[in-house]
Symmetry: C3
Subunit: 320 residues, 3 copies
């Protein structure tokens, strides 16, 4: 399915309440703020995650069709800290050739009393597709193709809010492969909804944002120009398979042109924060001294990722 044809409308019920989390398009500022507030409440004053009994009656299934131990673990930990049962359904050996087979698998799991499905799939819009056919369960999109990665964007927003309090007056730069990044797509949507009016997309030409832009979006081919006086820098991970496509001969070349170095970061505002969805490629898209430096909030993002996933799970569970 083409990315710009995917609709999230079925994630809201008739009273405008969230029943799935498929993507951020179509959610209001109130929806996002509600999730962020809930997530904040799950972190104690020392910055540690609370444990909760909120989901002790829920059973959740992780359906990961793309290998991503890391993201799968975040949902697993979020479920465990909320006292839910969670099973990892191993789909490596599964012969789910057709979407119909997947639907049968999910209906079967639902009949086993699974209440919530966390889905990662390489096909754009797959979570939206299955959500149409399943009643009385919640679908949580953990990344579909290049379309959306809503929980990542929400944890990014939580992290920005913790450090910058507001979204309206911020300049946010996103650096890297914008075209193929579901993280970038969801971040842009979230920032738009939350009112950010200066979003700078910094990328080599072939990896630039190729959807319909709007007034807040400015595109840069030059990282120095793009970073100037910004408040937030979100660095994207460089996927090796994109280097060939973008005619980037090697990692050093990418680093020379788009790597976030201390010198380049110095062009941003003094208190600018550095973010990255992880795992980082040191010396490729980010210099080690920046990743480990005092402007980096990369590990805080990880903690926020658990809080946001707990929050979303608990909000969706309330509607089941």
């Amino acid at each position: 399915m083409k990315k710009d044809l995917i609709s999230n409308h079925i994630q809201l019920d008739d009273s405008d309440q969230l029943i799935h989390l498929l993507g951020l398009e179509g959610l209001s500022k109130q929806h996002l703020t509600h999730i962020l507030d809930k997530a904040d409440s799950l972190i104690d004053t020392s910055g540690n995650l609370r444990k909760s009994k909120a989901l002790d009656d829920m059973s959740i299934a992780n359906l990961f069709f793309e290998p991503s131990t890391r993201t799968r673990n975040t949902f697993e930990i979020a479920a465990m800290r909320s006292s839910a049962n969670i099973i990892n359904v191993d789909l490596a050996n599964s012969a789910l050739k057709k979407n119909e087979d997947l639907l049968d698998t999910m209906r079967t799991l639902k009949a086993m009393q699974i209440d919530m499905f966390v889905i990662r799939h390489k096909q754009n819009g797959l979570p939206h597709h299955v959500a149409q056919y399943l009643k009385d369960v919640s679908i949580l999109n953990a990344g579909d193709g290049i379309n959306a990665h809503p929980t990542q964007a929400l944890l990014d927003m939580l992290s920005i809010r913790q450090y910058k309090k507001t979204f309206e007056d911020l300049s946010v730069a996103i650096v890297g492969d914008i075209t193929h990044s579901r993280v970038a797509h969801s971040d842009i949507q979230a920032l738009k909804t939350l009112g950010t009016t200066d979003i700078r997309l910094i990328a080599p030409k072939v990896l630039q944002y190729d959807l319909k832009p709007y007034s807040a979006i400015k595109r840069f081919g030059n990282i120095e120009l793009g970073l100037k006086n910004c408040d937030v820098v979100i660095v994207l991970r460089l996927q090796k398979e994109r280097m060939i496509e973008a005619d980037i001969p090697n990692e050093q070349e990418y680093f020379d042109n788009f790597g976030l170095t201390p010198k380049r970061l110095a062009l941003a505002k003094p208190g600018a924060i550095v973010m990255h969805p992880g795992p980082i490629n040191r010396g490729v898209e980010i210099d080690s001294s920046v990743a480990d430096g005092n402007q980096s909030i990369i590990l805080q993002q990880v903690t926020n990722g658990i809080a946001v996933r707990m929050a979303v799970m608990q909000i969706l569970a309330n509607k089941l």
Copy 2:
């Protein structure tokens, strides 16, 4: 071991109480009814599975030597809903060449305080073999070769009882590869014990029931004749590897001859129920409109599968 030489006698103790579940042969109507009653008590009036603390002192190990994510998940969920600890022992990398190695592995797990073993193995009688050598643990057969699949048959009986109340006056048709189906073998045994006097086995000649038949069993090579006025249709999954053996050139051919279509189902009694152990091959052994139709209780079987496994685990735990 030849299927008809496998004995289940060690699954009962001296007071005729269940201490393992190896197969249904040798269990009385009272034994089966006790399990079905227990399973029914674990489903609430809305048809949802209850949670229970019954096994919170138990540790269970899943030993799956055949890949079957689906069945493994059912035991995992049944254990979790009963508050037991459960571990999946990964045997893909294991070099258990001899049964003696397997026994050593199981004795080791027992020494780690594992109380119950769920075993799936391609060798007929393997669970029976190990049960002879292990004391103070329970063995739960999750499918051994073509011999038996007792929990599947029990969930089938629970499903039939929920819809038909009785077993005595029923006509039950089983369609598909009877020869190699442990599900069919256990279903036939269960129906016999529960008093069903009209069991129709519908299959291509080479896949027909090849054990010693008894008076209740009627064999059919023609599905239309076999389905006539029956109350229950159990459709078996067609395993691809059997098609060559049975000289079935392709799936369409099988469907043409033995697929359950609306037209064929219409030959059964009006209120006849359609069952399938899953996962279904749509358009091979069953037409989609039948699988999703209002006579199909396939998803109810899945829910009953969790209830039955919880029930068996709890009954066995009482004797440990």
Copy 3:
């Protein structure tokens, strides 16, 4: 890193309390006794493991870079019986080429509120290396290269203490591949700390102990001489890859020269106990009748292994 250059000093804090378990070198008799006493308290009078709520606020990650279902399961069960959350981080697909990548993975897991890491790795000193860079978490070495396997040695000591009460007056024989055995290295260290003055290392020449010996250590190439009047026999598992190196043409040859047979065991003291870290190779390093005989405490070792791991986890958790 060379085995004899690896230092465990960072496993103790300024007050000499255990904050990691990296190896037994550097731990006092009091440290070891404290762990053994704690482990003993987790076994009830019938020899069954108790359940504990001690770690219900802890999250533990299993990081196994070497395949070892068995050892991984022991930590998993120990965590579950202590009410901790535990996740298995699948590292088979991970592209952790550099130690820096591993540190990033672990920092990320720590940010997900993982408190304790169980690590098995083929590189000597890897757990020590990462422990230097991570604050406020505990590292538990589950075997690093040929360097150390401290929890195995602790369970061996617990087993010896249960049967022999004391360590000072014992003669302990270790038979097999001493050179490459982290179990042997850790056992020798533990026995030294606990005061055993007669440690006999029995091995083919090329598999003999090749570190700096001390007065308690005696080396034997002949098993009959080595076993004479000993109190404890620890048999090591023969790794196939070592047979070629040691010019052992086949398993029978090894068994003929170093296998523990009833006849050889008769040379030890009458009440001598037989131990093995498992899994055993019957007919290779040990005769079946000895492994299953009444002097064998191999299965008791397994139970003790859970108790020791629970004890270590609980002691480390107290310092977090």
